[in-house]
Amino acid sequence: MREGRITRVSGFVVVAEGIPFPMMNEVVLVGEAGLIGEINKISGSKVSIQVYEETTGLKCGDKVVALGRLLSAELGPGVLSQVYDGLQRPLSEIAELAGSFVRAGVKSKRLDHEKKWHFVPVKEPPSKVYGGEIIGRVMENELIEHRILIPPNVKGSLVSLVNEGDYTVVDTIAKVKATTGEEIEVRMAHEWPVKVPRPFVEKLNPDEPLITGIRVIDFMFPIVKGGTSAMPGPFGSGKTVTLQQISKQTDADVVIYVGCGERGNEMADLLEKYKTLTDFRSGRPLVERSVIIANTSNMPVAARESSIFLGVTIAEYFRDMGYNVALIADSTSRWAEALRELSSRMEELPGEEGFPAYLASRLQGFYSRAGKVKTLSGKIGSLAIMGAVSPPGGDFSEPVTQKTIQTVKVFWGLDPDLAYKRHFPAINWLQSYSLYVENVSVWWELNVSERWRILRENLLSVLKEEDELMQIVRLIGSGALSERERAILEIARVIREVLLKQNALDINEAYSDPKKTLAIAEVIDYYREQLLEAVSNNVSLEKILSLNLGREIEKLKTLPLDKCLEESFKLKEKIVVEVSTLPSLVKA
């Protein structure tokens, strides 16, 4: 056994000496309780270790045992529907072992090694196999087919493969003779180091939107399957509500939710919702397609780091089966804070606001694991990463927000002023952007309407003009505006109230199908045209407003898809009939 002794303890950082040939990122067991730690700095005979569990009670002289492997996830059937801590310990099992509270040093299996799964082979030996190839499948639950992969680092010829039947994740199901002549036993589960991205053949250009059912996202600032986005916002601006809503409604096949340094009650609420709510596409409980990683704010700080990596590794694993995966991380700022504390305890030179100089590269390393790829098995899979950012004081100029924005392609900026007005989702339309608009245009054209881009541009430009006009109003009052300008304000109001504002708590409103979203946008754009034309023909704006058409459009929000499409056609006719019958004023 390779052992060393503790020479220093400071918070969750421990320095040990005497471990022979320590490896960077190697897992170690620290102290009598065998706390899990990871080596993250080596200088001579000294190693710095971040400990993933509460360090109370450690002392200098305690032994440290190096395990000779990197911090890894165990991947195989049984991963879905689990709630893990940052070290992939199922929290329900910890509860069985340790009661209602999480205590240090609890040892538990990551996957159930006793449960039998019904395995169906899809390959015939003898034949050549390569890493990442699919050799069988297991229906993990009624929703998800778990495809069993040859571990990515194994290749050679398949010597044997078991017949269809029930096996545990640790039973040998196949034997592969490697090119070196070594015979490798393959099980349904395999280990993968969490900090090493899983390999794939090539990255592809992402071109399909990840549908969230949230109009301001899908219509205005879309994200793609395989894309990256960040949602910064001060507390109370609705980050968690919006991200949880995405996790429930998205059309991804598998959703990984990482609660990193956030509230315990929120995790409890999410878990309850996942169990009771069903995915409307499949009719199955949401929990069947989900994995939750919960490391709440009061749980050990270092485990925030591992929770993010664990989440992305599990996500890549499902991507490798050819699924579209969405990873939601709430909040990446808490992860960055853990990095900062670690760096400071290791007495590294601080960069901006005390964060380590490698903050940007770590963030990039994390987000770069997203993408649409051709997997090793030749399938197409994708992983989209959406991260919440919690800037101190709501100040977006702070390092984590800035470095994140530099990295991601979609920026959903949450605005406290909108939140104060209870305009949710509080995504600021002037500040936010998506660099995927070009990518998804074809999808919209083929699947919804070729009018998407033009509508989007029309409506956004009204909102921009509204902003300019409001600056004038604040200076000299609304009396200074022309009829046309007032009309713009009215249209902008309708865009905000009907298209952008969406009640996540109302079941009729929470999910908006892209077709419904487009229908609403069409009506609003039509209203815009008619209003501006009428005003230019000297029709009184006051008269038009008294028709209360805005309120009629608003009713579309809560209609189901079919009804909404039907009503939107009628409403367009109504708009043209009613507006065109108003008399034109003759200028005096």
């Binding site: 200098c60 509230r263 209870r422």
Partner: protein
């Protein structure tokens, strides 16, 4: 073994920290006793470097001498004895009785507690009626929630807190409840005020006081809220009490944290507060909640002062990221004589949506909340416009909203310190002020 380890090898003293050399077998976070003449001070090991231990002294380092004072390592973490007997008692920040009564005896618990396993939490759902309209109607407190009051110097947070404590009740059930009040660096007068208020409400015998007053050790403040929560956890999760924990003032706690951090030469974060303050505060606030299989609950209402009324200051900012909403007090409402001066737009209860409506309060609660909120926001906006541009620039409708906002503040928000309104009265009042808009 370590029980008997006594060392005379203090090598340096810096503010609240002492450094002891040539020690062996010392554990992180271990409790130490420092003999200073007749007196024994206690401290905690916060860092170990080879045979050197850095200790944070909880009761002030005055009198400790290099080479004179003895340091004894107890081999155990800071634990306090708790039993049901603690109800009605007054303890100091370290959990020792200071009311002249007998010492509290009972099972010993580590003051740091342990994180509640997220899968064992039950989502909070039960509405607590505080009898204060603006809170019940617009930012309801839910049992198991942590909902802080963001106040400022000179604002009436003490009155509000004591009114909540006196009036708080559940609508449907009658169950045993207890109050744990922890005073952190507040004055003797303020602590007495609470005592009198609780006596007046006849609940003094259901209250535990943890006192760390202005005049007491500042570093003891780091432990005091943990002592309070250890008592609360015992009562809630061992003895089925519904415990309301009031902590005033968390800003003083944060100051103490900063003092220790700077003495350790740590790299300071924003405004000198340590970078780990978020995580540290979370280990306090996250001790609220309801646990599956246990009958009791812990609800926390911490009070903090926003320096210069600045909500982006690290103390309220980090708190807001952890707690489930916030009740923000407004100086301008206070100056215009409104009590309780709650800034409605900036306040929020995140758990409210799950604890109101049919079966909890009243079916129309959510709708009334939404209407009051948006009408008030509109009213304030128009009021601001009219103060810049003159009232005549407003349309008739806009003026109505201004009128509404004024009535809302005077009738709905404003209420007496002893006035208790049922949720029905609150909601009816809401409808009444809304009728101005028709």
């Amino acid at each position: 073994m370590t029980q008997s380890m006594r060392y005379k090898s203090i090598s340096s003293i810096n503010g609240p920290l002492i450094v002891v050399s040539n020690v062996q077998g010392v554990k992180l976070n271990e409790l130490v006793e420092i003999e200073v003449g007749e007196e024994t001070k206690i401290g905690q090991v916060i860092e170990l470097q080879g045979n050197v231990a850095i200790i944070q002294v909880l009761q002030g380092t005055a009198g400790i001498s290099v080479g004179q004072s003895y340091v004894r390592f107890t081999g155990d973490t800071l634990k306090i004895p708790v039993s049901e007997e603690v109800i009605g008692r007054t303890l100091n920040g370290l959990g020792k009785a200071i009311d002249g009564g007998p010492e509290v005896v009972g099972e010993k618990f580590d003051v740091n507690g342990a994180p509640i396993n997220p899968v064992m939490r039950l989502p909070p759902k039960d509405f607590i009626q505080t009898g204060i309209s603006v809170i019940d109607g617009l930012m309801s407190v839910i049992r198991g929630q942590k909902l802080p009051i963001f106040s400022g110097y000179g604002l009436p947070h003490n009155l509000i807190v004591s009114q909540i404590v006196r009036q708080a009740k559940l609508l449907r059930k009658q169950e045993s409840f207890a109050v744990v009040f922890s005073a952190l660096g507040i004055s003797n007068e303020e602590a007495d005020f609470f005592r009198v208020e609780l006596e007046r409400a006849n609940i003094l015998d259901r209250t535990v006081f943890i006192l760390n007053l202005q005049s007491d050790s500042t570093i003891e403040r780091i432990v005091a809220p943990r002592v309070a929560l250890t008592v609360a956890e015992y009562l809630a999760f061992e003895k089925d009490y519904h415990v309301l924990v009031i902590t005033s003032d968390m800003s003083n706690y944060c100051e103490a944290l900063r003092e220790v951090s700077l003495a350790r030469n740590e790299i300071p974060g924003r405004r000198g507060y340590p970078g780990y303050m978020y995580s540290d505060l979370a280990t306090i606030y996250e001790r609220a909640g309801i646990v599956s299989g246990k009958k009791g609950s812990i609800t926390q209402i911490p009070v903090l002062s926003m320096p210069d009324d600045d909500i982006t200051h690290p103390i309220p900012d980090l708190t807001g990221y952890i707690t489930e909403g916030q009740i923000v007090l407004s100086r301008s409402l206070h100056l215009s004589g409104i009590y309780p001066p709650v800034n409605v737009l900036a306040s929020l209860s995140r758990l409210m949506k799950d604890g109101i409506g049919k079966g909890y309060t009243r079916e129309d609660h959510f709708e009334i909340y939404a209407r009051l909120f948006s009408a008030y926001a509109e009213g304030l906006r128009n009021k601001e416009l009219s103060s810049i541009l003159g009232e005549e620039t407003l349309t008739l409708e806009e003026r109505q909203y201004v009128k509404f906002a004024e009535a809302f503040e005077k009738k709905f928000i404003n209420q007496g310190v002893d006035e208790e309104r049922s949720i029905d009265e609150t909601l009816d009042l809401g409808l009444e002020v809304l009728s101005i808009l028709k």
